[in-house]
């Protein structure tokens, strides 16, 4: 490389940086204004007793001390983690199963793709309302069916069942999302691999276990991380179907933060819960990344 070329490269790099900055600027302004500033403000307000209005008094770590001893926060955290497990096992798990199955069928791939993806496009509020109408004790779909067949009505949402009752629609809604990601990943695997495997005598489940899954491992990892972060954001379905009850048995961190902030007007405490949600999310994502670290296969 002669001197002229080197200079040219340097000048390109410098002006590229300018471009990069300019093109990123609108995003930086938008996320800065609507994401990072409010978050930093939440961190700041977490140290205050604040009624969301004019009473704002510095109370140091009191909100965090209250948070550490708050029984509902403990329950909501455990519930959030439980939903996370369901999300990883069922959302991603079923996504993999469906993707492998649809990949092996010869006709109708597009139909399955649309059919499974469809719930993702429906608003969570509408799905929540639909499931509320399923579970309703007095005249819900499930109880009407039971009465029709001569059985007693069942109280579907109880302390024991409420979390499952909200986990079902949560899983149902997002299975299609992971299915589409994984199905696309599977269809990108070159046929040569399968032909070679076929010649070696690998078929059926072994083909999936030894060829397909290792080759889409990085996509599965992405899906698991998305499922983890996604389950931290579960809000609408719980809010609409159970409202976090009965006796906080289906409370998740999002709904508890909402109740404390907007219903109880405890905005300072709500901010502290919000900070806790972010920290928990960061810890879980880092942990997931570490645990799932595995050499990626490139092809």
């Amino acid at each position: 490389m002669d001197r002229g070329e080197k200079n040219m490269k340097r000048s390109v790099q410098t002006s590229d940086k300018g471009y990069i900055f300019l093109f990123l600027l609108p995003t930086i302004i938008l996320t800065g204004t609507f994401l990072y500033y409010p978050f930093l403000r939440s961190v700041y307000k977490g140290f205050f007793y604040w009624d969301g209005y004019l009473t704002s008094r510095f109370i140091g770590l009191e909100n965090y001390i209250q948070l550490a001893g708050d029984e509902v926060v403990r329950m909501a955290t455990l519930n959030t983690l439980e939903i996370m497990c369901y999300a990883i096992i069922f959302q991603v798990g079923l996504g993999i199963v469906l993707a492998v199955l649809v990949d092996s069928v010869k006709f109708g791939t597009n139909f399955f793709r649309s059919a499974f993806f469809f719930p993702v496009a429906i608003s969570a509020t509408a799905i929540g309302l639909m499931f509320t109408l399923f579970y309703n004790y007095d005249n819900g779909l499930l109880n009407q069916l039971l009465t029709k067949f001569g059985y007693e009505k069942v109280l579907w949402i109880t302390e024991e069942s409420s979390l499952i009752a909200v986990a079902i629609p949560t899983i149902w809604q997002y299975v299609g999302f992971y299915f589409v990601i994984l199905f696309t990943a599977i269809s990108k695997i070159p046929d040569d691999f399968y032909e070679a495997a076929h010649m070696e005598g690998l078929t059926g489940i072994k083909k999936t276990l030894y060829i397909t899954l290792p080759l889409i491992w990085s996509d599965i990892k992405t899906c698991i991380i998305l499922a983890i972060t996604g389950s931290l954001k579960v809000f609408e379905l719980v809010y609409i179907i159970t409202g976090g009850g009965p006796v906080n048995s289906s409370e998740v961190l999002g709904t508890y933060m909402y109740t404390k902030t907007f219903v109880s007007s405890a905005w300072g405490y709500g901010s502290a819960i919000a900070v806790f949600i972010v920290i928990l999310g960061m810890i879980l994502s880092v942990m997931a990344n570490k645990l799932l670290k595995r050499e990626e296969v490139s092809y």
Partner: protein
């Protein structure tokens, strides 16, 4: 490479334009390009399913006809649930207060009043005796805040009580629950006959909490509002609520059902009784066979048989900024006066079945609504709801724990003490 200087310029231009468009988007909502018109922003709860919506909208149209130079930006929304409170509070917190706001009084409005964003109406009322005379003295007293000023000009009030489906009582040959024994008897009989005795929600138990505490402590106990710690009658009231819950007096899904759904159980005659307020009168279809009576006094309770939770807890607030803005020419006050004439109050009371704040004859009331008005006239005391007297955080602490109390997971004492602690923190300056 040749075009780089040009494209760089362009990208600078594009970026600057994007930044400017953001800035304009953010400020656009407050810019007023009026073309000589006076813009008034109004936020009320007369929207959606509120029965007074039509009367309100017609009133705004009439005002615009009378003052063609005024343009009204109506941002009203229904007050069901929490979003209305959040909207109004956020508007005031961000310095974006409406010119005219129809909002609650009491604990909800405390911070708005403290901020000085709304004007006391006393002087303005003194200057206009005709307008001032619209309100009866009782009503004026009820809406007077702790500092002795009136900030909200009310139009109609509400009452709460025990709603009963009289036809179900006749069918099962039960006496109306005018005292505690009859109340308990009714619960037993309806239970035996597969009718839900009381349509109530434990999650949204606002009115149950108020009435059980009122029945135990009377007006004095009910209105103690944590002034001298936890009044023992509050614990007595909530314990009695637990006993009634254990008699299977509420729907099987009482712990998850919302108040709106519970009301439907009563409206559809699946439930015999309901503790609720006058705002549900509009939803009750069978106004002939439905009645409303005061909640009975429990054994050992200090209430008088006709003590009620009722009153005037909402009204029009006038923004100070708007009143002092000369370009608005006092139009916000004009609008409030227009919306609070005796005639207008009569129209609103006819529409929503509430108790008028002025001394006017309301025509066309259903038998149920007339009974409600009669009950208020004959009441031995009128108390404002507990959630208008203590901080929202303390009240929510009680309300969200009712499920724990009725299922013996926490004692009423524990819950009330926790709520008192929250209230003390809210009162600290």
């Amino acid at each position: 490479m040749v075009i780089r200087p040009l494209s760089k310029k362009w990208s600078v231009v594009v970026s600057v334009m994007m930044i400017l468009s953001l800035v304009f988007a953010a400020t656009g909502c407050t810019a007023s390009s009026d073309g000589g018109k006076i813009k008034l922003r109004v936020v009320t709860m007369f929207a959606g399913t509120d029965p007074a919506t039509k009367v309100y909208q017609q009133a705004l149209e009439d005002f615009k006809k009378k003052h063609p130079n005024v343009e009204i930006i109506d941002e009203s929304m229904t007050a069901t649930g929490d979003p209305f409170r959040t909207k109004v509070k956020t508007d005031f917190t961000s310095g974006n207060e409406p010119d005219v706001t129809f909002f609650f009084t009491g604990a909800d409005a405390a911070s708005i009043i403290k901020s000085g964003a709304v004007l006391p109406l006393n002087d303005l009322m003194a200057k206009d005796p005709e307008w001032s005379s619209v309100l009866t003295e009782n009503v004026k007293q009820q809406v007077t805040e702790k500092d002795g000023n009136i900030y909200a000009f009310p139009i109609t009030g509400f009452y709460e009580g025990l709603f009963v489906n009289k036809d179900l009582f006749q069918k099962y040959n039960v006496e109306l629950p005018t005292d505690w024994n009859k109340f308990v008897r009714a619960i037993e009989v309806f239970n035996q006959n597969g009718i839900i005795p009381i349509a109530g929600s434990m999650d949204e138990s606002f009115y149950l909490i108020e009435h059980f505490i009122l029945s135990a402590g009377g007006a004095h106990g009910h209105n103690s509002a944590f002034q001298n710690g936890v009044d023992p009658t509050w614990e007595q009231g909530l314990n009695q609520l637990r006993e009634i819950y254990k008699m299977n007096a509420f729907p099987r899904d009482a712990n998850t059902i919302k108040d709106a759904d519970a009301v439907q159980l009563f409206v559809n005659k699946k439930a015999a009784m309901m503790v609720n307020g006058s705002w549900t009168v509009g939803q009750i279809k069978d106004k002939q066979n439905t009645s409303v009576i005061p909640f009975p006094v429990m054994p050992g309770g200090k209430a008088q048989p006709k003590d009620l939770v009722a009153g005037f807890t909402s009204g029009y607030y006038l923004s100070k900024k708007s009143y002092e803005d000369e370009s608005k020419k006092g139009m916000a006050l004009e609008l409030i006066k227009f919306l609070t004439t005796k005639e207008m109050i009569r129209k609103f009371a006819e529409a929503n079945g509430g108790v008028p704040a002025a001394d006017v004859q309301v025509d066309g009331l259903s038998p149920l609504a007339s009974e409600g008005h009669k009950m208020v006239k004959e009441a031995s005391s009128l108390s404002l709801p507990i959630d208008a007297q203590i901080s929202p955080e303390a009240f929510t602490e009680i309300r969200k724990n009712i499920q724990y109390i009725v299922q013996d997971k926490k004692t009423a004492k524990e819950v009330l003490e926790a709520a008192f602690k929250v209230e003390k923190q809210a009162r600290q300056q």
